[in-house]
Symmetry: C2
Subunit: 308 residues, 2 copies
């Protein structure tokens, strides 16, 4: 959000304030104040005028203004009611050199998950793609994926959703998928140019609008304030990526993969055994009958404990 | 090169052959034969007609036909007399889903090296960018860079140029740069979509057309047949990337970094010590005063031995 507009919003939320007072406080013209208030109303903020000045009556449930209002993480929000794919748009921004942008949508019409799989994105979800430009080698990109999963699980925990991470980055409730994460990147062999982290949350969505193997926040705990959830996710993600050493501990706390029997389909064949740890930047350590194996990529399936 | 055209070329190079004989042998119309011969001439092949049929009189020095003729590696050549940047064009092809293409130019007008550094690319060079789509995680991308350096050093060895690799991928002669390599990639966090390996060789170029710190093949051993050199480079690169376990041994044989005192500038500060080994996928092991350090990315400088 533009800086002066944010200041106008802060002043309005502090109580009734007149146009001339606002203009003087912010050192802008009265016409500029009117223009900012008009834009805030367009973004969905309820700005009412009374005898003693303007007051902020309501904030938008979602959208750029609704999420940026009170956000303490360095992201500009680009909001779309409907878009083909937030990852596609974020990639476009990344290629153009942008950074610190969060592309957000209420609905996606052409979203894809990992390996080009279909991903349902009905209206009411949180479809979010973050453009980052960290100075790291491509080998470290997976830590962004794990950070996104941990940040999302922690944010969900804050609204009473008991989510668990399946390695590396599926967020499940009761074994059904609530959140999908897709990280894309480009760069030189030893240096990332950009990373786009796409996070799709089945939020205020009917259970029958998503596949049988998936669930939604509405189904679990009822509708949630998406702006609040998005803000806490963005802030947690920013904290974790700012202190990479915190990512694995946060991830371990939220995962249900460690200690489980798993089958990982890799390009070199299946790895079956007990998942015993995760190592930087996201490698799963599996105790198999033949000894420890380290798996950096693959589809993970949680197996039922062997009957004894 | 189109398959039938390659068959025409093979028949022509085997000796005089008449149009009707060719048409019958290849099971195409006589008009089709004429058309292929016409296209070959446009690509620079000297096809002469005598009383007893057509013969191949000369092959083009460079260009798509010149390089593809006799090439036993799965690359189609896209040749440009002049282009802004072969890597830019290769990236465009990669994004469009292409694979197994080698973009080749006699001259580049807007080429860049690592970290967006300038890279002189006068006419007479070998400016080559390969589009690959291997099924590997991004962490393994550096092995393509090392394979390119080793393949280039081996190809240069074949024409009597005693080149040495400076970690990770500069190819030098007598300490001056003969070849620059720039690898770019994009993909998901755990899977590469494409890798573009750019290889720029100062070939039949005057020494004063490149920076003082660089040298050229012309300066070292006189002009070379660029088609022959490009073919042997492509074939060696294809061999090495087909057997990744061969890359490090080939690289070690051609490097002058191992056993040397080096200073590596990394984003976490300088690492100074003796380079003692290279590990998959391209990590340099340096023995410092504080013990062994492993460096995956950085600018490497060869230091003079300490005076004793």
């Amino acid at each position: 959000m533009q800086e002066t507009r944010r200041a106008v919003l802060d002043a309005l939320s502090a109580g009734p304030v007149s146009g001339p007072e606002l203009a003087e406080e912010l050192d802008v013209s009265r016409a500029a104040v009117w223009k900012h208030i008009e834009t805030l109303r367009e973004e969905g903020f309820g700005v009412e005028s009374h005898g003693d000045g303007y007051v902020l009556d309501s904030v938008p449930e979602f959208g750029a203004g609704g999420v940026e209002y009170g956000l303490s993480a360095p992201f500009e929000i680009e909001y779309h009611d409907s878009i083909g794919s937030t990852n596609d748009r974020a990639r476009e921004l990344a290629v153009a050199g942008e950074s610190g942008v969060a592309v957000l949508a209420d609905e996606q019409t052409g979203a894809r998950g990992r390996l080009d799989r279909e991903w349902a994105s009905p209206s009411g979800g949180i479809w979010l793609s973050l453009v980052c430009r960290p100075d790291v080698p491509p080998a470290q990109a997976p830590i962004y994926t794990l950070a996104a999963a941990a940040a999302t699980a922690d944010a969900l925990d804050g609204i009473g959703v008991d989510a668990e991470i399946k390695w590396p980055n599926d967020v499940l409730v009761g074994g059904r998928k609530l959140v999908g994460i897709l990280t894309e990147m480009a760069g030189e062999a030893d240096r990332v140019a950009w990373i786009v982290v796409g996070i799709g949350i089945n939020a205020n969505v009917d259970g029958d609008a998503v596949p049988e193997t998936a669930t939604t926040i509405r189904e679990q705990v009822g509708d949630t304030d998406r702006a609040v959830l998005t803000r806490s996710l963005l802030e947690r993600f920013d904290d974790l990526t700012g202190s990479p050493e915190d990512v694995l501990p946060a991830w371990r706390k939220a995962t249900s993969t460690l200690g489980r029997r798993v089958r990982i389909e890799t390009t070199d064949g299946d790895v079956v055994g007990e998942a015993i740890d995760v190592e930087f930047p996201g490698t799963l350590v599996v105790a198999t009958d033949e000894g420890e194996e380290r798996v950096s990529a693959g589809d993970c399936e949680h197996l039922r404990p062997a009957r004894s």
